[in-house]
């Protein structure tokens, strides 16, 4: 049996150049607040391991100590003595107060103060409208006039480009079925639904080329609904946006009614 296990493990990791740890780590965090999610994950993991070890200690320890051959006569108790009830209740209460409430408090704080706390109306942010459809992502930047659904909007397909160092707000809508915009490097996702605008905000830190996935089952080619995700430095982003804006003015097909799929920005 141990042969079988060793065969599995060695066959699975034979072609390794990467350490096992690297292989199982989530993609690089490139956002200002992603570390909060990673921290909470590790915090929970730590306590989970402690608790699971306790369970295992009981499970394997008692199985060893109280096997029939070592312990032929069982101790007769219904576990309803005061001390038993107190111990069981204490374990329950300890799990709840020490771990759960802590996690809940931290997560709740992070959520209400950061992830669900969208930038105020007058804040200077990058705004992008995202249209999801089977099976592509379309992104719309307001262009020079800062108003969506006008002639100078920059529109990209499966190619989101954003700068570092500035808050980004995405508004999402779906044309057909429910999709979910998943940015693994930002540790966030939000559903794109038909008939209902959803929002997500984040701030990026590291320029580079990344990927965006659709996380919600959306049909046969769900697995192909990927988008490039390019993060620029602020200067590079301005340069790109200016060029893209000029190209948009020259090339946008305004006669096509489908071009005006955008909506008025919801504050």
């Amino acid at each position: 049996m141990s042969f079988a296990i060793m065969y599995f493990i060695s066959s699975a990791f034979a072609d390794t150049h990467m350490s096992f740890w690297e292989r199982i780590s989530p993609p690089k965090d490139i956002s200002v607040n992603g570390h909060l999610i990673d921290y909470l994950f590790h915090y929970t993991t730590f306590f989970n391991i402690v608790f699971f070890l306790l369970v295992c200690a009981g499970l394997f320890g008692f199985s060893y100590l109280y096997a029939k051959k070592r312990h032929p006569i069982a101790y007769y108790t219904h576990g309803n003595k005061k001390i038993h009830v107190i111990v069981a209740t204490l374990i329950g209460a300890f799990v709840f107060f020490a771990i759960d409430l802590n996690i809940t408090r931290m997560s709740s704080n992070d959520f209400s103060k950061i992830f669900a706390n969208f930038p105020k109306k007058d804040e200077d942010v990058i705004k992008v409208e995202v249209l999801a459809q089977q099976w592509m992502w379309t992104f719309r930047y307001a262009g020079a006039d800062q108003v969506f659904n006008t002639d100078d909007d920059v529109i990209t397909t499966n190619d989101l480009r954003l700068p570092t160092g500035k808050k980004v707000v995405l508004e999402l809508l779906s044309k057909d079925v429910i999709h979910s915009l998943f940015l693994p490097n930002v540790r966030q996702k939000v559903d794109a639904m038909p008939g209902r605008i959803s929002k997500m905000w984040f701030e990026l830190t590291t320029p580079g080329n990344y990927e965006i996935a659709c996380a919600e089952m959306c049909g046969t080619h769900h697995y192909k609904m990927a988008s490039k995700f390019k993060v620029y430095s602020p200067e590079d982003f301005q340069r790109w946006l200016a060029t893209a804006n000029q190209m948009a003015l020259a090339e946008n097909d305004l006669a096509n009614a489908d071009y005006f799929w955008g909506w008025q920005w919801e504050e």
């Binding site: 989970n48 069982a74 219904h78 038993h84 709740s108 429910i178 998943f182």
Partner: protein, 576 residues
């Protein structure tokens, strides 16, 4: 506490009345068992196809691949892949686990363990099985429709599951099948609840019922309340698909008034979260009993265990919102659902403590049912603890819809329930069929299954944490997932190991039925009521309705003088 006389009916004589349209709860239990094992095999085969695709994208599925997918020379095409995971989920939940744990063991154990001659509504019981069969026929027939079976995931979220996303008739048949299986489960549930309330043997209070019966009872209550909710949801879906209503349509697709696709998610998860507990509660009950039976020690804090299970049953109805964090509901709701979800860990921790308390200072006999029960403690520990990440909103923003979720719910619903179900089969085999299964093969089956399933589901959690999302045909179109190829291969090898080891079980099961060693009346030396009657149980169960005088877990009482270390429930508790 029987409120009316239970007559002994003459045994049925014709083949049809004895084996097909039987009113006998034991026969119906066996029918459900065969049905469940058949679909377990079908669903398991589908799981292997899914795993094959993920580990070896673009390679032909071995042996039966070319027969099933001739157009692609044995490679599973993407649309079929979507059907496979949809059908795998649906089949495993409604057509494999539900029939085995609730249909088979619910039917078999409840009357025998509470000292009744049959269920209180035998006709409903029979109908429950035949509705399940009808539902299965509808579901399987959808595989042969022009556009194939439903392919929107077992959750079938609109608008993907409306005509916009799934034009084929398969999705309609799926909804219809779920509606019919809902009828079947509700009929069964009403029967279980009523039977437990009115047909308990004289002297048997609620806390004298074995915990198996407690688990099944709570499951039945959840089933009776929440399956109708699902049935209502899929009925509206059928309306949207067939009659052109717009309950779940919105945006450009809603040409006549606007509904809301998220509404379906609410309806679905109001049912869906309790469903998790519907599946796991019988296994919890069975495990609680088996741990006590084979530790030769009374169940530790039995009342607390029963009440913890009841508390979880109640709480399970209040937490469904944690399945919908990414739909961006209001932060107030999000936080309420998160906090309520966390409270479930209090009763869970208490009964975990009680499980460990039961084996503490016991005299443990490592029979196969005991191994499976200890296995449940292990895998449910993992499954329960990993739920914390998903009930917490911020970590869920990252982990939602990734393989981490898949690993987590397989640990809780698949691994625990499967191990509990196998434990139950090994344990009640003598009373069901009058034969013993081979212990040695059973133990090999246990260890191989255990290694296999931990490899699979632990692996799933790992790739999920690394960012691999669910329901994708080929994860490796994404660059950041390419490093996960070896781990996916490892998961698939584990799945193959687990799949193959089920043949040991099948061989053991069939061998026992054909020429197994005859079982004595009470091979495990246990005192609950079903062991006071001959093996296999006669069609009338109890010649005389037993009178219950003590609890179900009377083991190791030092005052016992008759050479046994256990007492039957029909015996007066010996006191010093």
């Amino acid at each position: 506490m029987a409120t009316f006389e239970q007559h002994i009916h003459p045994a049925p004589t014709t083949f049809l009345s004895k084996y097909i349209f039987s009113f006998d709860h034991k026969v119906i239990a066996k029918q459900f068992l065969w049905y469940g094992i058949f679909f377990l095999a079908v669903g398991g085969m589908m799981a292997l196809m899914i795993r094959w695709t993920l580990a070896f994208p673009g390679e032909a599925f071995p042996i039966i691949g070319t027969m099933l997918f001739p157009d692609t020379h044995g490679v599973i095409p993407p649309d079929t892949y979507a059907m496979l995971f949809t059908m795998h989920g649906t089949i495993m939940i409604f057509y494999a686990i539900t029939p085995i744990l609730i249909g088979a063991f619910g039917n078999f154990c409840i009357p025998l363990m509470i000292g009744a001659r049959d269920m209180v509504f035998p006709t409903l019981n029979m109908l429950s099985f035949w509705f399940a069969v009808l539902s299965a026929i509808i579901l399987m027939s959808s595989l042969f429709t022009p556009l194939g079976a439903a392919a929107g995931g077992w959750t079938s979220y609109p608008t993907l599951s409306t005509v916009i996303g799934s034009p084929g008739v398969g999705q309609t048949l799926w909804a219809l099948a779920i509606f019919v299986v809902g009828i079947s489960s509700t009929l069964g549930a009403i029967n279980y609840i009523t039977t437990i309330i009115v047909l308990r043997a004289p002297g048997m209070g609620y806390f004298d019922m074995p915990l198996t019966v407690w688990g099944l009872w709570l499951t039945a209550i959840l089933n009776a309340i929440f399956l109708p909710v699902l049935a209502a949801g899929v009925l509206l879906l059928i309306f949207d698909r067939v009659f052109g209503t717009t309950f779940f349509l919105a945006g450009a697709a809603a040409t006549s008034g606007s509904g809301d696709p998220v509404l379906f998610q609410h309806v679905f998860w109001i049912f869906g979260h309790p469903e998790v507990y519907i599946l796991i509660l019988p296994a919890w009950g069975i495990v609680s009993d088996l741990l006590s039976f084979f530790a030769r020690k009374p169940a530790f804090g039995m009342k607390a265990t029963a009440l913890s299970m009841t508390t979880i049953t109640i709480l399970s109805t209040l937490v469904y919102g944690h399945h919908m964090f990414t739909t961006q509901m209001s932060p107030l709701l999000t936080q309420s659902f998160m906090t309520l979800t966390m409270t479930i860990s209090i009763p869970s921790a208490i009964f975990f403590a009680n499980w460990l308390g039961t084996i503490w200072k016991g005299s443990i006999r490592f029979t196969s049912p005991m191994l499976f029960s200890l296995g449940v403690v292990f895998v449910f520990g993992l499954g329960g603890l990993t739920g914390l990440y998903l009930g917490t909103v911020t970590t869920d923003l990252y982990l939602h819809d990734t393989y981490f979720v898949v690993g987590h719910f397989h640990y809780t619903m698949a691994a625990s329930v499967l191990l509990g179900g196998f434990g139950a089969i090994y344990f009640w085999m003598p009373k069901m069929f009058g034969v013993m299964m081979n212990e040695c093969l059973a133990k090999v089956h246990f260890w191989l299954t255990m290694i296999g399933l931990n490899g699979i589901f632990m692996g799933m959690m790992i790739v999920g944490y690394a960012g691999m999302h669910r329901r994708i045909y080929n994860p490796f179109v994404y660059e950041y997932l390419q490093k996960l190829i070896p781990i996916n291969t490892f998961i698939t090898y584990s799945a193959i190991l687990m799949g193959l080891s089920q043949f040991i079980f099948l061989y053991n099961f069939i061998h026992a039925l054909l020429k197994g060693e005859k079982a004595s009346d009470n091979p495990w030396e246990v005192g609950t009521l079903e062991w006071t009657i001959p093996s296999p149980a006669p069609h009338y169960n109890f010649k005389e309705i037993p009178v219950v005088k003590c609890g179900p877990h009377e083991f190791g009482n030092p005052n016992l003088k008759n050479g046994r270390d256990y007492q039957y429930q029909t015996e007066q508790l010996v006191e010093g």
